[in-house]
């Protein structure tokens, strides 16, 4: 399968990279360059840690120095006060780093966007002053003259390179496996749209916490080794702004959201800064900072997503070849037996739902039922409350009054990812694609909800892609799809976990007449395969031909419901759409 292939390819690439690095180390005997070769993996590892959290999940952390510094100080203080070797001190530091991730993440995830980023900035600053206050302004690691190796102290610099390279490789492998697992895809989904991710059944808080804990652990390991290499720990060097920024800079430069990014960034920027410093520093002190800054600005302007993605796009690497899609049995397509419904059974019961936003009554006593096997259209002019209704059904908003039952289960108070798990799929008015992933990967994210393991999820995704007729483009990057393909992809994502009920929010928006014609049979086939569909549209024309029944909303109220032919003749409906004048005309 395509994914297995790309995993193997990445593993080979990492292997080649490590071998080349080792060869370079063996060729160089200049102690200064060896120090560079020791520092590059440390900063790359910090970058990898940052990328593991911020790169995949999109929650920008300006505070990874917290974990780095805690790792450095834990290992250092353990050696100073308790004569504990770094071989044990660094793992202890990692524990502290991971724990700090949990303690920091738990409250901070309440914040979003820039607020989250700024809050993260505050932690290392607080640690900086805390450690200064504790009297650890300058902690120097004593040189051990006996049992040096036991204290992780070596005469040969290459031993340190081996350690830092080992750590970086481990971090790369962790990142690689995260990228290729449900974990990574879930984080990417959160990055693209946290609400949408919840909508496809991802428990966003859990994944985010897991990510920051893992990230903190890795960053702490990097910090511990950094202390051992530098032998002096001061709060500004490990908790300082520059340290947090370094993690961002190497990753943004090299490429966000891929484990190659931090490695490329650190491998290029750290030596560049040093060479500039070495060659020009004594003539124009500080010139390295200026040149370094300019280089970063140029790269960010020419390759805003980082060097890695630019190169990949340039040479179109990573685009899989189309393989014949596997076949599927009917049992794999229908909703799972535990949620099988009989035709005519009430699937969704919306009872007297109201939703208030301050003084605005967006939904007013909305009541209707959805029967198994039907296509129900919810129509209404713009602002009628259609999307709000979906958001209530999905659990994004709690209703102010009333309740929603799905197959006799009360949905009140359930989070979107729980609602999704029960068997309600959803698409969005604006397509939430994950542009850097291919079609199949986009869909897999949706399948995780019901899949026991990653392999099953992949199989379900393949089936869903085939069902919507995207089999031929399933390895294309989502960024290059047409609007219709995007709609179909989103549809596939929603049906991948084989939901009982599918909520489609304006699936026809932005499609041409012919494309709409192509979409209809697909929806009808889905219904034939046993999925109940509720669809929002404001274009009456298209709906009339597609749906079995209609519910018309206006100003948050149900003004009509019934068969399309009856509804379209209803004066109230005509009035809502066209105004009083036309309602009178229609009657005549």
């Amino acid at each position: 399968m395509g994914d297995r292939q790309s995993l193997n390819r990445s593993l080979t690439a990492i292997g080649v990279f490590v071998v080349v690095y080792v060869l370079v180390v063996l060729l160089i005997d200049n102690s200064y360059y060896r120090l560079m070769l020791t520092l590059v993996p440390i900063w790359a590892t910090l970058g990898l840690a940052w990328n593991l959290f911020s790169g995949y999940s999109g929650l920008v952390s300006f505070g990874h120095a917290s974990f780095f510094g805690l790792g450095a100080y834990t290992a250092t203080l353990l050696q100073i006060h308790f004569d504990v070797t770094f071989w044990f001190g660094i793992p202890c530091g990692m524990l502290v780093g991971g724990l700090a991730g949990l303690v920091i993440g738990w409250p901070t995830f309440r914040l979003q966007g820039v607020y989250f980023a700024l809050a993260m900035l505050a932690y290392p600053l607080a640690f900086l002053y805390l450690f200064e206050w504790l009297g650890y302004q300058e902690v120097s690691l004593p040189m051990k003259r006996e049992n040096a190796a036991y204290y992780m102290q070596f005469d040969d610099q290459r031993a340190y390179i081996a350690l830092t390279l080992g750590l970086m490789t481990t971090a790369m492998l962790i990142s690689l496996f995260v990228e290729h697992s449900r974990f990574g895809l879930s984080l990417v989904a959160i990055k693209q749209n946290e609400l949408a991710a919840e909508g496809v059944g991802i428990d966003t808080k859990r994944w985010k916490l897991l990510a920051i804990v893992l990230s903190g652990t890795i960053a702490a390991a990097a910090g511990g080794l950094y202390a051992k290499v530098l032998l002096v720990v001061t709060p500004p060097t490990v908790f300082g702004m520059i340290t947090s920024a370094q993690a961002l800079i190497v990753t943004l430069f090299g490429g966000v959201g891929t484990f190659w990014g931090p490695v490329i960034g650190a491998g290029f920027l750290i030596p560049l800064a040093e060479i500039l410093h070495g060659e020009f520093g004594h003539i124009l002190p500080g010139i390295q900072g200026v040149t370094f800054g300019i280089a970063i600005v140029i790269v960010i302007m020419l390759a805003p997503e980082g060097v890695f993605w630019k190169v990949r796009d340039r040479f179109r690497l990573g685009e899989g070849k189309a393989e014949p899609a596997p076949g599927f049995t009917a049992a794999e397509l229908a909703p799972p037996p535990d949620r099988a419904v009989t035709s005519g059974q009430t699937v969704l019961d919306v009872g007297g739902v109201s939703k208030r936003f301050g003084g605005l009554l967006a939904l007013n006593q909305v009541t209707f039922q959805v029967k198994a096997g039907e296509i129900l259209g919810i129509i209404g002019p713009n602002g009628a409350g259609k999307t709000t209704l979906f958001n209530v059904l999905n659990g994004y908003y709690p209703p102010s009054e009333g309740g929603v039952r799905f197959l006799e289960q009360d949905l009140l108070g359930l989070k979107p990812n729980r609602v999704c798990r029960l068997g309600i799929g959803r698409t969005f008015q604006i397509v939430r694609a994950f542009p850097r992933l291919n079609v199949l990967q986009n869909v897999v994210v949706g399948a995780f909800v019901r899949a026991e393991n990653d392999r099953a999820a992949r199989r379900m995704a393949e089936a869903a892609v085939a069902r919507v007729g995207l089999g031929g483009s399933r390895l294309k990057q989502a960024g290059g799809l047409t609007t219709k393909e995007l709609r179909l992809m989103e549809l596939a994502r929603a049906i991948a976990p084989r939901p009982t009920l599918l909520l489609l929010d304006e699936p026809l928006a932005g499609l041409g007449h012919e494309e709409v014609e192509e979409l209809f049979p697909i929806l009808q086939r889905l219904r034939a395969e046993g999925i109940t569909i509720v669809i929002i549209e404001h274009t009456m024309q298209a709906m009339v031909r597609l749906v079995d029944r209609m519910v018309v909303l206006d100003h948050g109220m149900v003004i009509a419901q019934g068969a399309p032919a009856a509804v379209t003749r209803d004066p109230a409906v005509i009035e809502a759409y066209l105004g009083k004048k036309w309602a009178a005309h229609a009657q005549n």
Partner: protein, 404 residues
Amino acid sequence: MKRSILLSLAAGVLLSGGAMAQPKEVKIGLIAPLSGPWARQGELMRKGAELAVDDINGSGGIQGLGGAKIRLIVGDAGENAEKAKNAAQRLLSEHPDLSAGTGAWLSSFTLAITEVTERAKLPWLTLSYSEQITARGFKYVFQTSATAADQAQKTLPIIIKAAQAAGAAKPKTMGVISDNTASPVNFMKFMREKGLQENGVELVVDEVFTPPLADATPPVQKVRQRRPDMMLVYPTGTADVKLVLEKFKEFNLDKGRLPMFGNGAQFGTPEILNAVGKDLLEGFIFSLANWPTKETEAMAKRFMVRFNEPFVGQDPVSTYGDVQLVKAVIEKMKSAEAEKVAEGLRAIDLKGGVAAFYAGGKVKFEDNGRRADAGIYLVQWQNGVPVTVYPPEAAQAKINWPKK
């Protein structure tokens, strides 16, 4: 003269086993922050070192090595310990033949670079204060300044002596206005623990604030009420120093009417003069590990003329001294080999001459690398210039202390 050169050449050839000619050039390293927030201090160190190199080379180089010239190899310690360590590693890998070095101003930088120089067995001089620098069992690090704890210990006794020498009664009460950052807190820690008691001084005003200071009125008001015999004024930020001194002026306690002192070179920079002003600083005293003295005034004058600096402080004097000291050791050992220079530094016992560039006027290193009997100076702002006022053998001017 010719004879002695020949002799020394012969001796040099003998010492080096006759296999190699003596080096034409002797390399001395300097690592100092030349970029980043401490670039100015690094610049002053570099200027001091350059002046020493030119003085030596201009007067015939190193006689003991056939007039070998000194070449200064400079590394930029940048803005953090990592950069400083990189600079040290680079210096060593590009110039494995360094004879000795000096730097890197900030204690944490010095701690980092000496990890490198120690392993390379390169003798390293430093003016940094931290006790840790010479508490690691290193054999190739030589700390020329009194350590921070040492300075905290010595300041009060010499302030009292200076006051008495000026004809005033022994100060019995003291007030403190300081912030709660590391340096003042550590400085005061010793005083609180025993310094005050040992010296028979009572603390009557104790005002510690978290910077920045919003209003200096309440603490200065307290000072006016209690009227201590002297004041320790120790904010770290220049703006806070200015605020406090302005308030003292408002209460008519300025111009040395109430003796005020602090600790550290930051009280004696051209920058503080510009920011706080000549009038407010008048009479302010600070203790520190090194400053020009009446013996080293000539060097200070040449420095001011050449580099167009208003006055000379600790950084250029110490660094100038370090280069001269290394030169003196090379002369004595008749070898520029790092191992020999280290040996020479360990054995040195100097009074006068080069030793005049260090407070106390003596150069002898203890086993751990600290300079034995490293003294401190009291420097007072007089007419917009910070001049050494104590001890008398170093003083450039008399201390202004009110006789009451």
